[in-house]
């Protein structure tokens, strides 16, 4: 039997596909099967992958039954929903599921703290907080450099400044 896709090689792989309740049989060669396999894998989307990760990432958070039923107070999405669809429901979900999301974000991005642009439209409180955060980041980078260059006196000064700002930020 020749391959049903390329019509050239010997069919060695036999597939049964069910699309819209209709069953079709496919007899195809190794090469075409690999291509077909790649197509099938792409149906297995990011959401599935994320859902798997979310389970891992949730750690203890997701373990107890009570906690998997935690709902976002704003949009009503549960952590179970998130695991199922791989998407959050609203901005507030990030606070509602923070504990579970932190390890997940760490795994995806290697970080849990945003640096960079912030919206132009925001309250003064947020503006100040963003300023402190960016200043802190800058100081930490300078501190790293000073340590690398073995400028320890400078590093000590920078470290004190970082501590001071961190305290301020927490208030």
């Amino acid at each position: 039997m020749v391959c049903g896709i390329c019509g050239k090689n010997q069919a060695t792989v036999h597939l049964t596909e069910i699309v819209d309740d209709k069953m079709t049989e496919l007899h195809i060669c190794e090469g075409c099967a690999q291509k077909k396999g790649a197509q099938m894998e792409s149906h297995f989307g990011l959401a599935d992958l994320l859902a798997g990760l979310a389970d891992l990432g949730g750690g203890q958070f997701a373990k107890t039954k009570k906690e998997t039923k935690v709902k976002c107070p704003r949009c009503g999405l549960t952590y179970e929903d998130f695991k199922r669809i791989g998407r959050l429901g609203c901005g507030e979900c990030y606070s509602a599921f923070k504990e579970a999301l932190l390890p997940l974000l760490k795994r995806i991005h290697g970080s849990t703290q945003h640096y960079g642009k912030s919206p132009t439209k925001k309250t003064t409180k947020v503006t100040n907080a963003v300023k402190t955060r960016d200043e802190l980041q800058e100081l930490r980078e300078k501190l790293q450099k000073a340590i690398q260059l073995e400028q320890f006196e400078e590093a000590a000064k920078l470290r004190d400044k970082v501590r001071e700002l961190e305290k301020k930020g927490k208030k």
Binding site: G45, R87, S111, T112, H114, K117
Partner: protein, 348 residues
């Protein structure tokens, strides 16, 4: 302006001007943004989606930075038109299905496009021909700032711009570069390059984004990480790596030319010959052959075809483009015949 007018345009990513345009087709940056007062698109009610569509459209139309835009309700347009917009890289494939309350605004010769109610409320995209992420960032940054004045974005100090999928949160930015790497594929070095990329927290995709196969030796390379690094740093990182890939492709081209010139010429001219004489041709074969002809033009082996024509063929031979050109529905077999006819005509 309406959708069919785009047919006469040359989309930004196919203009083949700009830095390194022999290897880099286009540079693209997209930002994911959400409005803080509404649930994310997938979780929102129909009514909320409608409101987001309305509010976002108003802000875009009122914008001074986004000039003379074409705004479309995706749910109200023909499926062929939807596919046409996907083929032109103005919107994602996902945006063309379940299209109720989804919107798209296109402006500035297709360099700027904004999807409304895709996975996130706003997906802003800026495209530049050639290797020019910096300019793309300059443009998108100013558009985003302006829209951010009119709309209240969902943002947190810790997680930055909040997105439906946690893989996009932080900067909400994806910077990607579309590369044409035929020589790295021919010299079988491409797998090594792609493996190295993944280790540097970048990802490679095919011509049409997530889940698509690499075809015609085109690879779209983009950052995977969006949280924890500033926009400038993310762009720096990807630029540095892309520059290395360009160098590798260049030296692979040099090696092929100096050591295997006749084999290379044979492949390129055969591709050209097939395109000039085929009477039935699929879109995937077309892309593969055009890729070789493009290489021939870049290496100055084929002098009679310029890159603008090759780029035009890339796009007008896509299924929805063919049907728009012919102004009627064509089944796959009819398309393969029509496609071959158009290519023969244009290549003379």
């Amino acid at each position: 302006m309406n959708i069919s007018d785009l047919l006469n345009n040359q989309g930004e990513w196919l203009r083949s001007i700009g830095p390194n345009s022999d290897i880099v087709m286009s540079s693209r940056i997209r930002l994911a943004r959400n409005l803080s007062n509404y649930p994310f698109s997938n979780w929102a009610s129909k009514k909320e989606q409608q409101e987001v569509l309305k509010v976002a459209k108003q802000a875009i139309v009122a914008s001074k930075k986004i000039k003379s835009s074409l705004c479309l309700d995706i749910g109200k347009i023909d499926p062929i038109d939807r596919q046409f917009l996907v083929e032109r890289h103005l919107m994602s494939k996902e945006h063309s299905v379940d299209a109720d309350n989804k919107g798209l605004c296109v402006s500035d010769r297709e360099a700027v496009s904004i999807m409304i109610n895709e996975e996130d409320h706003l997906r802003i995209q800026v495209m530049k021909s050639g290797f020019d992420l910096r300019d793309a960032w300059r443009i998108i940054n100013s558009i985003d700032s302006e829209l951010g004045n009119a709309l209240h974005y969902a943002y947190s100090l810790d997680f930055g711009y909040l997105t439906a999928c946690p893989t996009n949160t932080g900067t909400g930015m994806r910077a990607s570069v579309m590369l044409h790497l035929p020589s790295l594929v021919m010299t079988k070095q491409i797998d090594k390059v792609l493996q190295a990329i993944t280790k540097l927290s970048l990802t490679a995709r095919g011509l049409y984004g997530e889940g698509t196969e690499a075809s015609g030796n085109f690879f779209q390379i983009s950052n995977q990480v969006s949280l924890g690094h500033r926009e400038d740093d993310i762009i720096d990182n990807i630029e540095r790596i892309i520059r290395q890939i360009i160098d590798h492709e260049q030296s692979a081209r040099d090696v092929l030319l100096s050591q295997n010139k006749s084999v290379l010429e044979d492949r390129i001219w055969r591709a050209y010959g097939t395109l000039k004489s085929a009477h039935i041709i699929t879109s995937s074969e077309t892309i593969d052959l055009l890729s070789l002809v493009r290489l021939g033009a870049d290496l100055n082996l084929i002098k009679s075809v310029d890159r603008a024509l090759i780029n035009e063929l890339f796009i007008i031979t896509q299924p929805a483009h063919l049907q728009k050109l012919e102004k009627k529905k064509l089944n796959p077999n009819e398309r393969d015949v029509k496609r071959a006819e158009i290519i023969r005509e244009r290549l003379g």
